[in-house]
């Protein structure tokens, strides 16, 4: 082939980079699912566990739109229980720690939601300012 001296090293480097994620973590601890600290006060969340795992982001987005833009206040889930739609006043009253609950899963999966740029996590209040 033409330019063998450039193509073959190029291909080698390309495959090196392509397979990097696969071989970089060899020999390290195997994957363990994240263990967020569950709340002790309540047994049930606004919606079921599996649904929340998949959709809590959309629920929060929808709550945000309804509260800020449409002046709604409460959310009645399928079971008929009514919750005030508020991250700080409802969700964080049971899930009392961003470090031990929210961040456990988010850090594991490399998710960085910007909620906490504005919303106040419970530990910020208890840590005193």
């Amino acid at each position: 082939m033409y330019d063998k001296e450039k193509i073959i090293p190029g291909l080698v480097i390309f495959f090196f980079l392509l397979t990097f994620p696969f071989w970089y973590n060899l020999g390290q601890a195997s994957y363990e699912p994240p263990k967020p600290q569950l709340p002790t006060k309540e047994k049930e969340c606004v919606e079921g566990l599996e649904w929340m795992r998949a959709n809590h982001m959309e629920l929060l987005n929808a709550w945000r739109n309804e509260v800020v833009r449409k002046d709604y206040a409460y959310y009645r889930n399928e079971k008929g229980k009514v919750y005030l739609m508020s991250l700080q006043r409802t969700c964080m009253k049971c899930h009392t720690s961003r470090e031990k609950f929210c961040k456990r899963c988010h850090d594991k999966f490399g998710v960085r939601p910007y909620c906490w740029d504005c919303h106040i996590a419970p530990e910020e209040v208890s840590n005193g300012q």
Binding site: E47, V68, D71, Y72, A73, Y74, E78, M85, Q88, V125
Partner: protein
């Protein structure tokens, strides 16, 4: 170009176009949670246009002003002590009389206003120029008259700040969190890069409470529905002569001042 190639490209383009039409339908369906129902708050008083009357006669000492301003700042996590004074954040604050009412220029101003300040805040106008110019509807007028801000949508273009004739709006030039002295866990802060202003305590109204400044004013600020002829605020307006800021601009501000 080769005819076969042209036909292939045509076929690909048409099928791509047909395929893309399916995406918006699919995307919308999965975005909104199907479960649950949204309810308004029964405790929230209904109103068509919230308004305020500030009785300047009752604001005599510095403490009167500070109590009210402090109440708002505490309730809403307003940052204090930002080193660059030009970039401060204030929702309700004091201004000298001629600054608040520039069209009341008076070389022989009544003595009681010579050195006294006036409380100013967002007027939640009926025809707000800030709402007119916002390109994303991040600031919008609610059905109850409050000129609301959606901090999640604001892109920080500051067009609303240019449009506001009353200087009510502040921009977060930097992250406010380090300057929030006492974090109120029931209300968020804002992030840098968004505009903010007084929101007539919509979050307190939702729970049936009066705005923070009204409660802290010991009766010097009256709050109510301007469209309800039987409300206390309308009674106060009937009995006292009031002025508003910069009425000639057609914004119809809803904050009245008893002088």
């Amino acid at each position: 170009m080769d005819n076969k190639r042209r036909n292939l490209l045509k076929a690909m383009a048409i099928s791509a176009a047909l395929g893309l039409t399916g995406i918006p339908v699919e995307a919308k369906a999965s975005y909104l949670p199907e479960v649950g129902k949204y309810l308004k708050s029964k405790k929230e008083p209904r109103a068509k246009q919230w308004g305020m009357v500030i009785d300047t006669r009752k604001f005599k000492t510095k403490e009167d002003f500070e109590r009210v301003i402090e109440a708002c700042n505490r309730a809403h996590n307003i940052p204090e002590g930002i080193p660059n004074k030009k970039q401060e954040i204030k929702w309700i604050f004091e201004e000298d009389f001629l600054g608040a009412f520039p069209n009341q220029e008076n070389p022989f101003l009544a003595e009681r206003f010579e050195n006294r300040e006036v409380l100013v805040l967002c007027n939640h106008c009926e025809h707000p120029p800030c709402v007119r110019v916002c390109p994303t509807k991040a600031t919008f007028k609610r059905p109850d008259g409050i000129v609301m801000m959606d901090f999640h949508r604001c892109i920080g273009c500051r067009y609303c700040m240019a449009a506001c004739p009353y200087g009510s709006r502040s921009f977060n030039f930097r992250d406010p969190a380090p300057f929030v002295k006492h974090k109120n866990p029931d209300f968020p802060t804002r992030m840098r890069g968004v505009v903010e202003k007084c929101l007539f305590c919509y979050e307190r109204l939702k729970l049936g409470e009066m705005p923070a400044c009204v409660e802290a004013s010991n009766g010097a600020i009256i709050f109510g529905d301007l469209m309800d002829p039987n409300s206390e605020i309308r009674k106060v307006l009937r009995e006292n002569y009031t002025i508003r800021r910069k009425v000639e601009l057609g914004t119809e501000p809803c904050v009245y001042y008893i002088i």
